[in-house]
């Protein structure tokens, strides 16, 4: 995959800016990256070093040191994700809009990593119609030295290589719509299998492919998705989990939730994400299978963010999540219910969280109940150059079976090339960590012989991410309506 070049492409993209949602006739424009920000083109942001830092990374350090004590503002505005920016009236309107789109909705002062359905990633003009296209790429790769039951093995591993593109359109000022396509690289043969394509070559498959729409009605936003949609549990929790590049959430690793499934979802988000309710109807077979039974998975997920606070370095948010799923798996319609709860905390300095999942039925084993607990903490010690992380997962594989616990403990350091404010736009992070996987006497593939599965790992892992607007749109002719 052309990950490196895409990543380089996103690094070259202009710095983000903001637009004025309350001034539909005066679309926003970012400063030219090569020009100083002072001057008539940007006035509001000049007073806000945090936002100015966004517009030009040269001001990042200044923003960190000269910012006045933060002001606390309630996050109840349904569209609070942008700052008012005065624009250069001499610029052509279509050019200004293109530049505004280029800025994306990534203001870390207010934005969680993914604000759908409240706002699209692009700074679409309030004066509909408008549209943009974004591209993004993710790469998790590394080197690991493993000792399994005393036998050493080392390898280079590619855990994730994904390329996504999204079309964001605003046909009406109250309606956003679009389509998302994400491709992922996977091994063509399953675990232990020797039947793949040309051995076990990597192939590219569709990870997510869906259409979406969101209607903004006062403080409430209603969103729908249909297609191979993302699993909202993982999507919501990863807003409070910053070290996905080195280790998945416990429920993700165990595939208690598949990252995507065919179906549709309805999301109601109120007061700028204070409360979010997701209802989903999906096949239940995940990415790898068609529907095999008549039953559909019905999921309700509630997310409440009781504490959110603006800070010049980014948003601080505490979220509580609860989920229940009534599901089935396979032709035999094995029970696949889920009950889950989580607490996540995100801030510019640290992330922390706790996840609990009770799986009533695990894949074809409908009568098995498993329980997964995960807790994590990551924090900068010397931002952005040095951070520490720790994670602990505890999985009871079968509640009816004593000592069927698997414990996975991870600790390590990480270092970012870019500061926190750039985390959605560009990230280049290196992890160095240690992980221990320990099995109870009645856990693992060989019950009674936990030593045969006991694993130690040393990891060097690279996380590279890039997100930007499509250059095609940037260079496009102005829409006829403008």
């Amino acid at each position: 995959m052309a990950i490196p070049s895409l990543f380089a492409l996103t690094l070259l993209l202009a710095a983000p800016a903001a637009e004025a949602p309350d001034a539909p006739d005066a679309p926003a424009t970012p400063a030219e990256p090569t020009e100083p920000l002072a001057g008539p083109a940007v006035s509001t942001t000049e007073e806000d070093p945090g936002v100015r830092a966004l517009l030009d990374p040269r001001f990042a350090s200044e923003a960190a040191t000269t910012r006045e004590p933060e002001t606390e503002r309630p996050l109840t505005d349904p569209a609070p994700l942008v700052h008012a920016v005065e624009v250069d009236a001499d610029k052509e309107p279509w050019r200004r809009r293109a530049l505004a789109r280029e800025a994306l909705h990534l203001d870390p002062d207010v934005a969680l990593p993914n604000n759908w359905p409240i706002a699209p990633l692009c700074n679409l003009a309030e004066a509909a119609p408008d549209l943009c296209v974004t591209v993004d790429a993710e790469l998790f790769a590394g080197y690991r030295l493993r000792s399994l039951a005393g036998r050493r093995f080392s390898e280079f591993a590619l855990d994730r290589a994904e390329l996504g593109t999204a079309l964001w359109a605003r046909p009406h000022r109250r309606l956003d719509a679009g389509v998302i396509l994400r491709l992922e690289a996977i091994r063509s043969a399953g675990p232990q299998s020797l039947i793949g394509i040309d051995g076990d070559s990597m192939i590219v498959r569709v990870a997510q492919a869906y259409g979406h729409a969101a209607v903004h009605l006062g403080p409430i936003t209603l969103g729908v998705r249909a297609g191979q949609i993302a699993e909202r549990w993982i999507e919501q929790l990863e807003k409070g989990y910053d070290t996905r590049g080195v280790d998945p959430l416990s429920s993700d690793r165990l595939v208690l939730f598949d990252r995507a499934d065919l179906g549709a979802s309805l999301t109601a988000s109120g007061w700028g994400g204070l409360v979010e309710l997701d209802l989903a109807l999906t096949n239940g077979e995940g990415r790898a299978q068609e529907e095999l039974n008549r039953g559909k998975n019905t999921t309700a997920l509630l997310t409440v963010r009781p504490w959110r606070k603006r800070h010049p370095k980014g948003l601080i948010a505490l979220a509580v999540h609860g989920l229940y799923r009534d599901g089935s798996y396979g032709l035999g319609a094995a029970r696949a219910h889920r009950g889950a709860a989580a607490l996540t905390f995100a801030s510019p300095w640290a992330y922390a969280g706790f996840e609990f999942v009770e799986a009533l039925g695990v894949r074809e084993q409908g009568d098995r109940t498993a329980r997964s607990l995960g807790a994590w903490l990551s924090a900068y010690a010397w931002a952005p150059y040095l951070g520490v992380y720790g994670k602990y997962d505890r999985v009871r594989q079968d509640l009816a079976l004593a000592d069927s616990t698997v414990q996975i403990s991870s600790v390590g350091l990480f270092s970012d090339l870019f500061g926190y404010t750039w985390r959605r736009r560009r990230r280049l992070r290196l992890y160095a960590g240690y992980q221990h996987e320990g099995y109870g006497a009645a856990a693992g593939p060989v019950p009674g012989a936990p030593q045969a599965a006991d694993t130690h790992r040393f990891l060097l892992q690279l996380e590279a991410q890039g997100l930007g607007p499509s250059l095609l749109i940037k260079k496009a002719r102005p829409p006829r309506s403008i």
Binding site: I195, E364, L401, S404
Partner: protein, 515 residues
Amino acid sequence: MHPRSCAAVPIALPHPTRAHLGLLSAAALLGACDPDEAAARRSWLHTTLVLDNQVFLETEPELTGGKLAAMASDPYAYFRGSVGQYARDLAQAGAPGYLPTAYLPAEAADVALVGDPHLENIGTYRPAEGPLVLEFNDFDAATYGPYHYDVRRLALSIAVAGRVLARSASDLDEAAQGAAVLAALRGYTEEIARLADGAPPAPILSDEPDLATDTILRDLFKKADEDGGAREELADYTALERDPELETDVRRFQYGEVEPSRVWRGGAYEQQIHEDALAPTSADDRWIIGQVMRSYPATLAAPLPHQEEQLAIKGVARRLGAGVASYPVRRYYVLIEGPTAEVDDDQILELKQIFDPMLVPGMDEAARPRFTDNGQRTLTLQRALQSGPAVDPLFGVGHAGGLRFRVRERTKYQRGLDLARIAERLADGRFSAGDVAELTRWAGVLLARSHARAPKHDGRPAAPAIAAAIAADPEGFLRETVDFVAAYAPVLDQDYAHLDALLADHGPRLGYFAR
């Protein structure tokens, strides 16, 4: 261990004696299940049978229906066709076969496994020189893993076979069935202890003096020798025809049924089950055969004296009705010229498509394969686990695109144990329960020798590691394995009954429709 499946309650046996082993069948009495648990197990079986056979349901739906119906023929047929369910039950928490072992140090967790060692996978071979030899003959599931997976599978096969054979022999009562299981386990543990010094084990030859007391094996060798010598395979599958142009006899495959097929009926469904038949090949089949036959000679253990002439193809056919687990896989017969141009020494090669070995959930890292494809896996492990490459001079593998095929000579010298024949002779008194126990003892010995022969995944010899694992308490290992069999054999009985009901309710394809 836990009450997940009502039949999965292991029975504590203080000592593995004949009397205690009578409890093998008593365990079956525990099979009265909670209806919810039975429904969950049935749902599990439905789902896993479809997942394991999905590739066949998509590509060969009719034959897959035949396989699933054939599995419902008797408990042993179900046992043979359900190795995927066995692997899951062995390795998945919450499964009824997920029973612990106290005899597995890490050093014995990466042994070369036969994969599916059961009684009907034992058979004879005729090496290039010397007498017939006894070997396991199916390595489609061979892989690396804990040695006790194989031991438990073999012991389980004997327990299931015992119940099937008991219908034909009054003296094969519960105690005798238990004794047969125990004989195999003792055969294994004593042989592995004998081989603990790492010395290469000897093959089990037909003229081995110790075999003189084994009625069933002597019968097997005798029948193989007779039928092989008579070239019965040529009589079964081919015929001589007069070529009017050449004015000479030529040998050709005879398409049609060698043994009549039967029809399974259940609910509103019926399904034809081939027993032994040859069918013409399609153009795709012939392309595959051509590709395989081109790549196969390079994998022979030793070049044949007149290899090109000997492997010249005279006819091809699709074989139907062979095996249980592999019933729907592509299996071709290729008639080749043989050592000379005479029609009497024509030979038949069997080309059988190979799939993945038994996939053990959770063993992703531990069982990480070291082979690039299933052909290489089968070739390497079969030669390592058998007594030598000369056992079948025509054994090799070939490929056609991404498909891999095992190639072997289809000769009646290669004859497998046949439970139906044993049952027949038990019924007429030619075999006895004691003969069955003697047979199973040799099965245990054979498994021990196979394990001892092949290097482990790490390249070290396996016998010292296995012997060390068992040495401290061999009786405990026997007891543990008997406990496993006592707990799990009734689960197989239940699953067999569930399969019968599923087929009647959903039809021979279990309700799956290829899309």
